[in-house]
Amino acid sequence: MLKVEHISKSYGSLKAVDDLSFTVQDGEIFGLLGENGAGKTTTFRIIMGLLDADEGSVTLNGKKIDYSITDQIGFVTEERSLLLKMTVKEQLIFYGVLKGMSEEEVLKEMDHWLERFEIPDYKDRKIKELSKGNQQKIQFISAVLNHPKLLILDEPFTGLDPINVQLLKEAVWDLQKEGCSIIFSSHQMEHIELFCEKLVLLVHGKSILEGYVKDIKHDYAKKNILIQGDMKKSDLEKIDGVISVVKEPQDYQVKIKNDEVVPHVFEAIKKYKIRKFVVEEPTLNEIFIAKVGEANEK
């Protein structure tokens, strides 16, 4: 279990991380969200032990994270962290041995992962000769070669096509099943919704939203109603409690202030022929935009 307790980090007058706390249980996928510059990378660096926090502590299974246990952590950075002149084999051996593995162990794992990612013949290719997607696969393999207890994924799907995204997703789920704690960061909210059970949303280094994804969505007051019928857009817009109406190809997407508005909307349009009336929870993307917007306004 990863435990982050009240960590803070400042660069001069800039507070990059401000009293951040969260825990990630074994086998849990945790989302760390935030705009660019919100403090995600600093948080990752503190967790990895690359940076010392000004305050607070980070422990993995009760132990302070230092170089005695970093072998148990895998890290996929946002940008490619590969030495371009090396071959795939050299690169994986290099990172694997730095994680305390023997060359034989690395080669065994390498064969397994290259096979799984459908690039078994790439061993002797130079990293610089690979496509961005394949480089990303190698980067992922280098992070999971040692079966880490904690895996940090910073934008892991960047540059991957949908087929390779699926391959990587399945690999992440398998690691989760092995009991690996995973911290996941992405700007693509659909990935967060798909993977993460819990999340924390950072704005200017401070947590403004945290908890289980389903609770966050459930507790978020503003809902959406999808309506199909012969009413006009203006009929919906004039109902009290309706924030906005978007005409989509099939439906009207009606944003409402809270659950209590739902009966009023239904009452107002029941005279029309209604083919669809579905109340759905907001997307994580909407919550993200709304919450970050609110925090920035403050």
């Binding site: 990895m48 170089y67 890290f75 962290s81 730095l98």
Partner: protein, 438 residues
């Protein structure tokens, strides 16, 4: 952690040595060194000759000077220790025939005659320009011949003439106990032999700085630094770079010595009359001159002291290169920031080769203590006797303390720098990092 240090060092070394560049550069160096040592044989193979025998035909209209001139040519050749052979033959044929002969063969025709005042004069005729050294030899011999002829024409008796012609007997006495009576000869050595010896050191320093800068910047620019530093401490990473670069340059220095050995071996096989046992004689006057300076007796302490200084200086250069590279994000920035260090090294090189000109200068003595310069300047000053062992020991102590200081503050800078990708206010960031408590 120790094994990770050696693993990183090993990977870094392989990265430098298992490259086509390294193999190609060393092949070129081997060819150049072998070629340089055997240049005379190579030129000879293609039809040239350094010491081509020269024939001089003398047309002596005075009937007095041919033997004298021949003797003077021989004496002049001996005095400059030349391997060249000059044959002087006398001829009685007419000048037109002899000019034709000069045109066909590479001979030189010298016509001796008396002018209106009965003074000896000479006409030197050749098909093309005469090589400078040969012309100087001829000119010197002609002057000596003229002097002897003119003295013979005077009323001086032969004994008096011999006394006048003999060279002056010089007896040197130096009152300073510290100075060797061979130190004047040493100045010549300093201007010829020493620059050749320290040039490889200067080149290796440039290699060292460039290699460390390139490797650290490669890891930074590809962001692989983050993965590496998440598995090994910045301290381990730093020392792996320093170790690998120093092992590389020392290996390269040993390879240069090995290539020199191969070159001499080849010379012993292909050059007639040359063998390794007679190396001192073969290399000729240079080694003899060095031996004559009495330096050989000093080598017992000069070499170990110079080596200690050299190793500590390599360490200082690599530490600075590592620290500066950690604060930059690409090679262009690193090139700019390391330029002052290279200028200091260059200044040390020139001060070392000109050290003989600064006899007694306190400034030069103080400069010989300065890190970066001391490895080049101090041995030079010690060789020519301008500083003593105490001064070298001071240089070593200063350098050791400087290295400790670099490691102490450099590690703080390195730890902050290698994960920092900012390109602004580099010096401000550097000083700020050095002040951090841990």
């Amino acid at each position: 952690m120790k094994s990770k240090l050696w693993y990183l060092t090993n990977v870094s070394l392989k990265k430098k040595m298992k490259t086509k560049w390294f193999v190609a550069a060393n092949l070129v160096l081997l060819v150049l060194i072998v070629g340089f040592v055997n240049i005379d044989s190579i030129i000879g193979f293609f039809g040239g000759d350094f010491n081509e025998d020269q024939k001089i035909i003398v047309l002596d209209e005075t009937n007095q000077v041919t033997t004298l001139f021949e003797q003077n040519v021989k004496t002049t050749l001996e005095s400059v220790d030349s391997d060249q052979e000059i044959t002087v033959t006398s001829s009685t044929e007419d000048i037109a025939t002899l000019k034709e002969e000069v045109k066909e063969n590479k001979q030189i025709l010298i016509v001796f005659s008396f002018d209106e005042e009965n003074m000896l004069e000479a006409q030197v005729i050749s098909k093309k320009n005469i090589p400078t050294l040969t012309y100087q030899l001829i000119s010197q011999s002609l002057n000596a011949t003229k002097q002897q002829v003119e003295l013979a024409h005077s009323s001086i008796d032969p004994e008096e003439l011999a006394r006048l012609s003999s060279p002056i007997q010089i007896t040197r006495e130096i009152l300073d106990d510290q100075a060797s009576n061979q130190d004047e000869n040493m100045q010549l050595i300093m201007t010829t032999v020493f620059p050749t010896l320290i040039l490889p050191i200067f080149m290796l320093v440039i290699f060292l700085v460039q290699m460390i800068g390139a490797e650290i910047n490669e890891e930074k620019s590809t962001r692989s630094m983050e993965i590496i530093i998440s598995n090994v401490s910045p301290k381990t990473h730093f020392f792996s770079k320093i170790l690998s670069a120093n092992i590389f340059v020392i290996s390269q220095a040993l390879l240069l010595l090995f290539y020199a050995g191969i070159a001499l071996l080849i010379r012993s096989v292909i050059a007639p009359g040359f063998n390794l046992a007679s190396l001192g004689e073969g290399v000729g006057s240079a080694l003899q001159a060095i031996e004559a300076t009495g330096i050989v007796a000093k080598l017992g302490y000069i070499i170990p002291l110079a080596l200690v200084l050299l190793v500590l200086s390599f360490l200082a250069y690599s530490l600075v290169a590592g620290i500066l590279a950690s604060m930059t994000v690409n090679m262009e920035d690193f090139q700019q920031i390391q330029t002052p260090i290279m200028f200091i090294c260059l200044a040390g090189y020139f001060l070392a080769i000109m050290s003989g000109l600064f006899d007694g200068s306190i400034l030069i003595r103080i400069l010989s203590y300065v890190p970066f310069i001391s490895c080049l300047l101090s041995p030079a000053l010690l060789v020519i006797g301008q500083i003593g062992i105490i001064d070298i020991v001071i240089s070593i102590i200063v350098l050791a303390l400087f290295n400790w200081w670099l490691i102490h503050y450099g590690l703080k800078i390195y730890k902050v720098g290698i994960l920092n990708y900012s390109q602004d206010k580099m010096w401000s960031r550097l000083f700020k990092a050095a002040k951090e408590k841990k």
